[in-house]
Protein backbone atom coordinates (compact mmCIF):
# COMPACT_ATOMS: atom_id res chain seq x y z
CA UNK A 1 0.00 0.00 0.00
CA UNK A 2 2.74 2.41 1.03
CA UNK A 3 4.90 1.58 -2.00
CA UNK A 4 2.12 2.26 -4.48
CA UNK A 5 1.57 5.71 -2.94
CA UNK A 6 5.19 6.77 -3.12
CA UNK A 7 5.67 7.13 -6.91
CA UNK A 8 2.57 9.33 -7.06
CA UNK A 9 3.97 11.63 -4.40
CA UNK A 10 7.33 12.08 -6.17
CA UNK A 11 5.54 12.86 -9.43
CA UNK A 12 3.69 15.76 -7.82
CA UNK A 13 6.91 17.08 -6.33
CA UNK A 14 8.71 16.88 -9.69
CA UNK A 15 6.05 18.81 -11.55
CA UNK A 16 6.15 21.50 -8.88
CA UNK A 17 9.93 21.74 -9.21
CA UNK A 18 9.69 21.94 -13.01
CA UNK A 19 7.12 24.70 -12.93
CA UNK A 20 9.22 26.54 -10.36
CA UNK A 21 12.35 26.37 -12.57
CA UNK A 22 10.45 27.47 -15.67
CA UNK A 23 8.85 30.25 -13.69
CA UNK A 24 12.16 31.68 -12.65
CA UNK A 25 13.49 31.73 -16.22
CA UNK A 26 10.56 33.33 -18.04
CA UNK A 27 7.81 35.39 -16.44
CA UNK A 28 5.05 32.97 -15.39
CA UNK A 29 1.73 33.14 -17.16
CA UNK A 30 -0.78 34.50 -14.69
CA UNK A 31 -3.90 34.87 -16.77
CA UNK A 32 -4.81 32.40 -19.47
CA UNK A 33 -7.88 32.68 -21.66
CA UNK A 34 -8.92 29.78 -23.88
CA UNK A 35 -11.53 29.78 -26.67
CA UNK A 36 -13.60 32.42 -24.99
CA UNK A 37 -17.00 33.10 -26.49
CA UNK A 38 -19.48 35.73 -25.42
CA UNK A 39 -23.14 35.85 -26.45
CA UNK A 40 -25.38 38.72 -25.37
CA UNK A 41 -29.04 38.33 -26.26
CA UNK A 42 -28.95 36.61 -29.66
CA UNK A 43 -25.72 38.28 -30.81
CA UNK A 44 -22.33 36.64 -30.66
CA UNK A 45 -19.92 39.39 -29.65
CA UNK A 46 -16.71 37.38 -29.98
CA UNK A 47 -15.68 33.76 -30.12
CA UNK A 48 -12.49 31.73 -30.10
CA UNK A 49 -10.62 34.37 -28.11
CA UNK A 50 -7.24 33.07 -26.90
CA UNK A 51 -4.53 34.89 -25.04
CA UNK A 52 -2.21 34.41 -22.13
CA UNK A 53 -0.66 37.21 -20.14
CA UNK A 54 2.54 36.91 -18.11
CA UNK A 55 3.21 39.18 -15.15
CA UNK A 56 4.00 42.77 -16.05
CA UNK A 57 1.76 42.94 -19.12
CA UNK A 58 -0.37 45.84 -20.22
CA UNK A 59 -3.25 44.83 -22.49
CA UNK A 60 -5.24 47.49 -24.23
CA UNK A 61 -8.63 46.33 -25.47
CA UNK A 62 -9.98 48.41 -28.32
CA UNK A 63 -12.85 48.10 -30.72
CA UNK A 64 -15.93 49.98 -31.88
CA UNK A 65 -18.89 50.57 -29.55
CA UNK A 66 -20.79 47.37 -28.89
CA UNK A 67 -17.91 45.10 -29.84
CA UNK A 68 -17.85 43.51 -26.39
CA UNK A 69 -15.09 45.35 -24.51
CA UNK A 70 -17.14 45.72 -21.34
CA UNK A 71 -18.48 42.16 -21.65
CA UNK A 72 -14.93 40.83 -21.98
CA UNK A 73 -13.82 42.63 -18.81
CA UNK A 74 -16.92 41.50 -16.94
CA UNK A 75 -16.23 37.90 -18.01
CA UNK A 76 -12.60 38.22 -16.91
CA UNK A 77 -13.60 39.41 -13.44
CA UNK A 78 -16.24 36.72 -13.08
CA UNK A 79 -19.36 38.89 -13.09
CA UNK A 80 -20.48 37.39 -16.38
CA UNK A 81 -20.33 33.72 -17.35
CA UNK A 82 -18.83 33.12 -20.80
CA UNK A 83 -20.93 31.19 -23.32
CA UNK A 84 -17.93 28.97 -23.90
CA UNK A 85 -14.26 28.69 -23.02
CA UNK A 86 -12.40 29.04 -19.78
CA UNK A 87 -10.26 31.49 -17.87
CA UNK A 88 -7.38 30.34 -15.74
CA UNK A 89 -5.70 32.41 -13.06
CA UNK A 90 -2.31 31.04 -11.96
CA UNK A 91 -3.30 27.75 -13.62
CA UNK A 92 -6.68 27.35 -11.95
CA UNK A 93 -10.10 27.93 -13.42
CA UNK A 94 -11.63 31.08 -11.95
CA UNK A 95 -14.98 29.29 -11.51
CA UNK A 96 -13.36 26.84 -9.07
CA UNK A 97 -11.38 29.61 -7.35
CA UNK A 98 -14.66 31.46 -6.68
CA UNK A 99 -14.20 34.10 -3.95
CA UNK A 100 -10.43 33.48 -3.66
CA UNK A 101 -10.03 34.88 -7.18
CA UNK A 102 -11.43 38.22 -6.06
CA UNK A 103 -8.46 38.77 -3.74
CA UNK A 104 -6.32 39.05 -6.90
CA UNK A 105 -8.64 41.20 -9.01
CA UNK A 106 -9.74 44.82 -9.00
CA UNK A 107 -12.42 45.72 -11.51
CA UNK A 108 -13.45 49.31 -12.09
CA UNK A 109 -16.47 49.61 -14.34
CA UNK A 110 -17.63 52.60 -16.32
CA UNK A 111 -20.06 53.37 -13.54
CA UNK A 112 -18.30 55.23 -10.76
CA UNK A 113 -18.62 52.76 -7.85
CA UNK A 114 -18.87 55.81 -5.62
CA UNK A 115 -21.63 56.39 -3.08
CA UNK A 116 -23.04 59.90 -3.48
CA UNK A 117 -23.90 60.24 0.21
CA UNK A 118 -20.41 59.36 1.44
CA UNK A 119 -17.31 61.53 1.35
CA UNK A 120 -14.19 60.60 -0.61
CA UNK A 121 -12.48 59.27 2.51
CA UNK A 122 -15.51 57.22 3.58
CA UNK A 123 -15.89 55.80 0.08
CA UNK A 124 -12.26 54.77 0.00
CA UNK A 125 -12.20 53.28 3.50
CA UNK A 126 -15.45 51.35 3.07
CA UNK A 127 -14.67 49.93 -0.36
CA UNK A 128 -11.29 48.80 0.95
CA UNK A 129 -12.73 47.35 4.15
CA UNK A 130 -15.23 45.30 2.16
CA UNK A 131 -12.27 43.83 0.29
CA UNK A 132 -10.58 42.96 3.57
CA UNK A 133 -8.11 45.87 3.62
CA UNK A 134 -8.37 48.18 6.60
CA UNK A 135 -6.84 51.60 6.09
CA UNK A 136 -6.57 54.34 8.66
CA UNK A 137 -8.03 57.80 8.19
CA UNK A 138 -4.51 59.22 7.84
CA UNK A 139 -3.60 56.80 5.06
CA UNK A 140 -6.91 57.47 3.33
CA UNK A 141 -6.22 61.19 3.46
CA UNK A 142 -2.76 60.62 2.00
CA UNK A 143 -4.21 58.61 -0.89
CA UNK A 144 -6.92 61.19 -1.53
CA UNK A 145 -4.24 63.90 -1.62
CA UNK A 146 -2.16 61.91 -4.09
CA UNK A 147 -5.17 61.43 -6.36
CA UNK A 148 -5.62 65.21 -6.37
CA UNK A 149 -8.63 65.78 -4.14
CA UNK A 150 -6.95 67.46 -1.17
CA UNK A 151 -9.35 69.88 0.54
CA UNK A 152 -12.40 68.05 -0.82
CA UNK A 153 -11.91 64.83 1.13
CA UNK A 154 -14.89 65.32 3.44
CA UNK A 155 -17.42 66.63 0.93
CA UNK A 156 -20.24 64.23 0.02
CA UNK A 157 -19.40 62.73 -3.37
CA UNK A 158 -22.57 64.13 -4.94
CA UNK A 159 -21.04 67.61 -4.70
CA UNK A 160 -17.97 66.52 -6.70
CA UNK A 161 -17.69 66.81 -10.47
CA UNK A 162 -17.74 63.81 -12.86
CA UNK A 163 -13.97 63.75 -13.11
CA UNK A 164 -13.47 64.13 -9.36
CA UNK A 165 -15.82 61.25 -8.67
CA UNK A 166 -13.87 59.16 -11.17
CA UNK A 167 -10.73 60.05 -9.21
CA UNK A 168 -12.34 58.84 -5.98
CA UNK A 169 -13.09 55.50 -7.67
CA UNK A 170 -9.54 55.29 -9.03
CA UNK A 171 -8.07 55.99 -5.59
CA UNK A 172 -8.78 52.34 -4.81
CA UNK A 173 -6.00 51.31 -7.19
CA UNK A 174 -3.49 52.82 -4.77
CA UNK A 175 -4.55 50.64 -1.86
CA UNK A 176 -6.03 47.46 -3.34
CA UNK A 177 -2.77 45.51 -3.72
CA UNK A 178 -4.26 43.13 -6.31
CA UNK A 179 -2.35 41.62 -9.23
CA UNK A 180 -4.96 41.94 -11.97
CA UNK A 181 -6.49 45.30 -12.80
CA UNK A 182 -9.49 45.43 -15.11
CA UNK A 183 -10.26 49.01 -16.02
CA UNK A 184 -13.24 49.80 -18.20
CA UNK A 185 -13.32 53.24 -19.87
CA UNK A 186 -11.76 54.78 -16.78
CA UNK A 187 -10.13 57.61 -18.71
CA UNK A 188 -13.40 59.24 -19.71
CA UNK A 189 -14.01 62.66 -18.13
CA UNK A 190 -10.48 62.77 -16.72
CA UNK A 191 -8.19 65.74 -17.38
CA UNK A 192 -4.59 65.50 -18.62
CA UNK A 193 -3.11 65.52 -15.14
CA UNK A 194 -5.32 62.64 -14.01
CA UNK A 195 -4.54 60.61 -17.13
CA UNK A 196 -0.82 61.07 -16.44
CA UNK A 197 -1.43 59.96 -12.85
CA UNK A 198 -3.24 56.81 -14.02
CA UNK A 199 -0.40 56.11 -16.43
CA UNK A 200 2.17 56.31 -13.63
CA UNK A 201 -0.03 54.12 -11.40
CA UNK A 202 -0.26 51.47 -14.11
CA UNK A 203 3.50 51.66 -14.75
CA UNK A 204 4.19 51.11 -11.05
CA UNK A 205 1.73 48.23 -11.06
CA UNK A 206 3.40 46.57 -14.08
CA UNK A 207 6.85 47.03 -12.60
CA UNK A 208 5.59 45.21 -9.51
CA UNK A 209 4.60 42.20 -11.59
CA UNK A 210 0.94 43.06 -12.05
CA UNK A 211 -1.30 42.85 -15.09
CA UNK A 212 -3.45 45.71 -16.32
CA UNK A 213 -6.22 45.17 -18.87
CA UNK A 214 -7.67 48.48 -19.97
CA UNK A 215 -10.62 48.96 -22.29
CA UNK A 216 -10.14 52.40 -23.82
CA UNK A 217 -10.08 54.32 -27.06
CA UNK A 218 -7.32 56.62 -25.87
CA UNK A 219 -3.74 55.42 -26.17
CA UNK A 220 -2.15 55.39 -22.75
CA UNK A 221 1.42 54.73 -24.06
CA UNK A 222 2.64 52.84 -21.01
CA UNK A 223 6.44 52.75 -20.87
CA UNK A 224 7.23 49.80 -18.58
CA UNK A 225 6.40 46.12 -19.00
CA UNK A 226 5.29 44.50 -22.24
CA UNK A 227 2.44 46.12 -24.04
CA UNK A 228 -0.18 44.18 -26.00
CA UNK A 229 -3.22 45.20 -27.94
CA UNK A 230 -6.45 43.31 -28.48
CA UNK A 231 -8.77 44.58 -31.17
CA UNK A 232 -12.36 43.35 -30.99
CA UNK A 233 -14.31 43.52 -34.23
CA UNK A 234 -18.07 43.79 -34.54
Amino acid sequence: MAESERPGATKVDLSLVISYICGSVVAPTLLEVKKLECVRGDRRLFSGLDFSLPAGTYLQVTGPNGSGKTSLLRILCGLLAPAEGEIKWEGENIRSLAEDYFTSVTYLGHRHNVKDELSAIENLRISNALNGIFISKELALEVITRIGLAGRESLPARLLSEGQRRRVALARLLTCGTKLWLLDEVLSSLDKGAVALIRSLIEEHLAGGGIAIVATHQDLSVATGSSQRLELAT
Partner: protein
Amino acid sequence: MLRWIVWRDLTLAWRRRADILSTVFFFIIVVSLFPLGIGPETQLLRSIAPGVIWVAALLASMLSLSRLFANDLQDGTLEQLLLTPQPLFLVVLGKVLAHWIVSEIPLVLIAPLVGLQFDIPGETLFILVVSLLVGTPVLSLIGSVGAALTLGLRGGGVLISILVLPLYIPALIFGAGAVEASIIGASPAPHLYLLGAFAIVSLIFSPWATAAALRISLE
Protein backbone atom coordinates in the same frame (compact mmCIF):
# COMPACT_ATOMS: atom_id res chain seq x y z
CA MET B 1 -16.70 42.21 7.30
CA LEU B 2 -20.38 41.87 8.15
CA ARG B 3 -19.85 44.79 10.53
CA TRP B 4 -18.59 47.02 7.71
CA ILE B 5 -21.45 46.29 5.36
CA VAL B 6 -24.00 46.91 8.12
CA TRP B 7 -22.21 50.11 9.13
CA ARG B 8 -22.09 51.24 5.48
CA ASP B 9 -25.82 50.72 4.95
CA LEU B 10 -26.71 52.34 8.27
CA THR B 11 -24.60 55.39 7.43
CA LEU B 12 -26.24 55.65 4.01
CA ALA B 13 -29.70 55.32 5.56
CA TRP B 14 -28.87 58.01 8.11
CA ARG B 15 -27.80 60.39 5.32
CA ARG B 16 -31.21 59.76 3.69
CA ARG B 17 -33.35 59.96 6.78
CA ALA B 18 -36.41 61.03 4.80
CA ASP B 19 -36.71 57.51 3.37
CA ILE B 20 -36.96 55.96 6.84
CA LEU B 21 -39.49 58.54 7.98
CA SER B 22 -41.73 57.95 4.96
CA THR B 23 -41.96 54.24 5.81
CA VAL B 24 -42.84 54.98 9.44
CA PHE B 25 -45.43 57.63 8.54
CA PHE B 26 -47.01 55.32 5.97
CA PHE B 27 -47.39 52.69 8.70
CA ILE B 28 -48.87 55.15 11.19
CA ILE B 29 -51.34 56.59 8.67
CA VAL B 30 -52.55 53.25 7.30
CA VAL B 31 -53.15 51.89 10.81
CA SER B 32 -54.88 55.11 11.92
CA LEU B 33 -57.29 55.14 8.98
CA PHE B 34 -59.14 52.09 10.31
CA PRO B 35 -60.36 53.48 13.65
CA LEU B 36 -61.26 56.72 11.88
CA GLY B 37 -63.24 54.88 9.21
CA ILE B 38 -64.98 52.39 11.49
CA GLY B 39 -65.81 54.68 14.40
CA PRO B 40 -65.55 54.13 18.15
CA GLU B 41 -66.83 50.54 18.32
CA THR B 42 -64.22 49.18 20.71
CA GLN B 43 -65.29 45.54 20.40
CA LEU B 44 -64.96 45.54 16.61
CA LEU B 45 -61.71 47.56 16.70
CA ARG B 46 -60.17 45.17 19.20
CA SER B 47 -60.95 42.17 17.02
CA ILE B 48 -59.57 43.65 13.79
CA ALA B 49 -56.49 45.24 15.41
CA PRO B 50 -54.02 42.31 15.05
CA GLY B 51 -54.76 41.84 11.36
CA VAL B 52 -54.76 45.56 10.55
CA ILE B 53 -51.46 46.30 12.30
CA TRP B 54 -49.74 43.30 10.79
CA VAL B 55 -51.01 44.01 7.25
CA ALA B 56 -49.90 47.64 7.59
CA ALA B 57 -46.43 46.43 8.65
CA LEU B 58 -46.23 44.17 5.57
CA LEU B 59 -47.23 47.01 3.24
CA ALA B 60 -44.88 49.50 4.89
CA SER B 61 -41.93 47.15 4.48
CA MET B 62 -42.79 46.85 0.77
CA LEU B 63 -42.00 50.56 0.39
CA SER B 64 -38.36 50.22 1.33
CA LEU B 65 -37.69 46.86 -0.33
CA SER B 66 -37.31 48.18 -3.87
CA ARG B 67 -34.46 50.39 -2.62
CA LEU B 68 -32.60 47.50 -0.98
CA PHE B 69 -30.36 46.80 -3.99
CA ALA B 70 -31.54 49.33 -6.59
CA ASN B 71 -29.43 52.26 -5.33
CA ASP B 72 -26.31 50.10 -5.23
CA LEU B 73 -27.03 48.83 -8.74
CA GLN B 74 -27.33 52.34 -10.09
CA ASP B 75 -23.96 53.64 -8.94
CA GLY B 76 -22.14 50.38 -9.63
CA THR B 77 -21.32 49.56 -6.01
CA LEU B 78 -23.42 46.39 -6.21
CA GLU B 79 -20.96 44.97 -8.75
CA GLN B 80 -18.16 45.76 -6.34
CA LEU B 81 -20.02 43.99 -3.52
CA LEU B 82 -20.28 40.90 -5.74
CA LEU B 83 -16.53 41.05 -6.32
CA THR B 84 -15.52 41.16 -2.66
CA PRO B 85 -13.53 38.14 -1.45
CA GLN B 86 -16.22 36.73 0.84
CA PRO B 87 -19.27 34.54 0.30
CA LEU B 88 -22.02 36.62 -1.28
CA PHE B 89 -24.63 35.37 1.19
CA LEU B 90 -22.70 37.15 3.97
CA VAL B 91 -22.91 40.44 2.07
CA VAL B 92 -26.62 39.82 1.57
CA LEU B 93 -27.05 38.98 5.25
CA GLY B 94 -25.36 42.28 6.20
CA LYS B 95 -27.58 44.28 3.90
CA VAL B 96 -30.71 42.50 5.14
CA LEU B 97 -29.70 43.11 8.76
CA ALA B 98 -29.21 46.81 8.03
CA HIS B 99 -32.57 46.92 6.24
CA TRP B 100 -34.24 45.32 9.25
CA ILE B 101 -32.68 47.83 11.65
CA VAL B 102 -33.55 50.80 9.45
CA SER B 103 -36.98 49.90 8.12
CA GLU B 104 -38.52 47.37 10.49
CA ILE B 105 -37.30 48.28 13.99
CA PRO B 106 -38.99 51.73 13.85
CA LEU B 107 -42.28 49.97 13.04
CA VAL B 108 -41.83 47.62 16.01
CA LEU B 109 -41.17 50.58 18.31
CA ILE B 110 -44.11 52.65 17.11
CA ALA B 111 -46.57 49.72 17.02
CA PRO B 112 -47.66 49.94 20.71
CA LEU B 113 -48.50 53.61 20.22
CA VAL B 114 -50.66 53.08 17.16
CA GLY B 115 -52.13 49.99 18.86
CA LEU B 116 -53.60 52.23 21.56
CA GLN B 117 -56.10 53.52 19.00
CA PHE B 118 -57.67 50.04 18.93
CA ASP B 119 -58.19 49.90 22.69
CA ILE B 120 -55.80 46.94 23.07
CA PRO B 121 -54.88 46.11 26.69
CA GLY B 122 -51.29 46.60 27.83
CA GLU B 123 -50.35 42.94 27.98
CA THR B 124 -51.52 42.43 24.40
CA LEU B 125 -49.48 45.44 23.27
CA PHE B 126 -46.45 43.64 24.66
CA ILE B 127 -47.32 40.50 22.69
CA LEU B 128 -47.78 42.69 19.59
CA VAL B 129 -44.25 44.03 19.97
CA VAL B 130 -42.85 40.55 20.55
CA SER B 131 -44.66 39.13 17.51
CA LEU B 132 -43.40 41.97 15.32
CA LEU B 133 -39.89 41.57 16.70
CA VAL B 134 -39.88 37.87 15.78
CA GLY B 135 -41.78 38.30 12.51
CA THR B 136 -40.25 41.37 10.88
CA PRO B 137 -36.88 39.68 10.13
CA VAL B 138 -38.93 37.36 7.90
CA LEU B 139 -40.17 40.40 5.97
CA SER B 140 -36.62 41.65 5.35
CA LEU B 141 -35.25 38.19 4.54
CA ILE B 142 -37.93 37.04 2.11
CA GLY B 143 -38.28 40.55 0.75
CA SER B 144 -34.60 40.57 -0.21
CA VAL B 145 -35.19 37.61 -2.55
CA GLY B 146 -37.95 39.54 -4.31
CA ALA B 147 -35.83 42.70 -4.45
CA ALA B 148 -32.94 40.78 -6.01
CA LEU B 149 -35.15 39.00 -8.55
CA THR B 150 -36.81 42.21 -9.76
CA LEU B 151 -33.60 44.22 -9.82
CA GLY B 152 -33.34 46.50 -12.84
CA LEU B 153 -36.83 45.67 -14.12
CA ARG B 154 -39.30 48.37 -15.04
CA GLY B 155 -42.16 48.54 -12.54
CA GLY B 156 -40.08 46.44 -10.18
CA GLY B 157 -41.85 47.89 -7.13
CA VAL B 158 -45.24 46.42 -8.03
CA LEU B 159 -43.65 43.16 -9.11
CA ILE B 160 -41.94 42.78 -5.73
CA SER B 161 -45.32 43.07 -3.99
CA ILE B 162 -46.85 40.41 -6.23
CA LEU B 163 -43.89 38.09 -5.69
CA VAL B 164 -43.30 38.61 -2.01
CA LEU B 165 -46.65 39.34 -0.33
CA PRO B 166 -47.96 35.75 -0.84
CA LEU B 167 -44.78 34.45 0.79
CA TYR B 168 -45.46 36.66 3.83
CA ILE B 169 -48.76 34.86 4.53
CA PRO B 170 -47.38 32.41 7.14
CA ALA B 171 -45.78 35.31 9.04
CA LEU B 172 -49.06 37.24 8.87
CA ILE B 173 -51.13 34.28 10.11
CA PHE B 174 -48.89 33.42 13.06
CA GLY B 175 -48.04 37.03 13.92
CA ALA B 176 -51.62 38.24 13.94
CA GLY B 177 -52.65 34.93 15.51
CA ALA B 178 -50.39 35.49 18.51
CA VAL B 179 -51.91 38.93 19.16
CA GLU B 180 -55.45 37.61 18.67
CA ALA B 181 -54.82 34.74 21.09
CA SER B 182 -53.63 37.23 23.67
CA ILE B 183 -56.77 39.38 23.19
CA ILE B 184 -59.13 36.45 23.81
CA GLY B 185 -57.05 35.35 26.80
CA ALA B 186 -55.39 32.29 25.25
CA SER B 187 -51.68 31.61 25.23
CA PRO B 188 -49.84 33.28 22.32
CA ALA B 189 -46.82 30.99 22.73
CA PRO B 190 -47.67 28.38 20.02
CA HIS B 191 -48.10 31.11 17.41
CA LEU B 192 -44.86 32.78 18.45
CA TYR B 193 -42.96 29.48 18.29
CA LEU B 194 -44.23 28.80 14.78
CA LEU B 195 -43.41 32.36 13.77
CA GLY B 196 -39.89 31.91 15.17
CA ALA B 197 -39.50 28.63 13.29
CA PHE B 198 -40.55 30.37 10.08
CA ALA B 199 -38.02 33.15 10.77
CA ILE B 200 -35.23 30.60 11.22
CA VAL B 201 -36.13 28.77 8.01
CA SER B 202 -36.10 32.01 6.05
CA LEU B 203 -32.80 33.00 7.71
CA ILE B 204 -31.27 29.76 6.47
CA PHE B 205 -32.59 29.79 2.91
CA SER B 206 -33.21 33.34 1.75
CA PRO B 207 -29.61 34.72 1.83
CA TRP B 208 -28.58 31.96 -0.59
CA ALA B 209 -31.59 32.54 -2.81
CA THR B 210 -30.93 36.30 -2.79
CA ALA B 211 -27.25 35.78 -3.62
CA ALA B 212 -28.14 33.54 -6.57
CA ALA B 213 -30.77 36.02 -7.76
CA LEU B 214 -28.28 38.90 -7.57
CA ARG B 215 -25.76 36.99 -9.70
CA ILE B 216 -28.44 36.39 -12.33
CA SER B 217 -29.67 39.99 -12.23
CA LEU B 218 -26.19 41.40 -12.79
CA GLU B 219 -25.23 39.16 -15.72
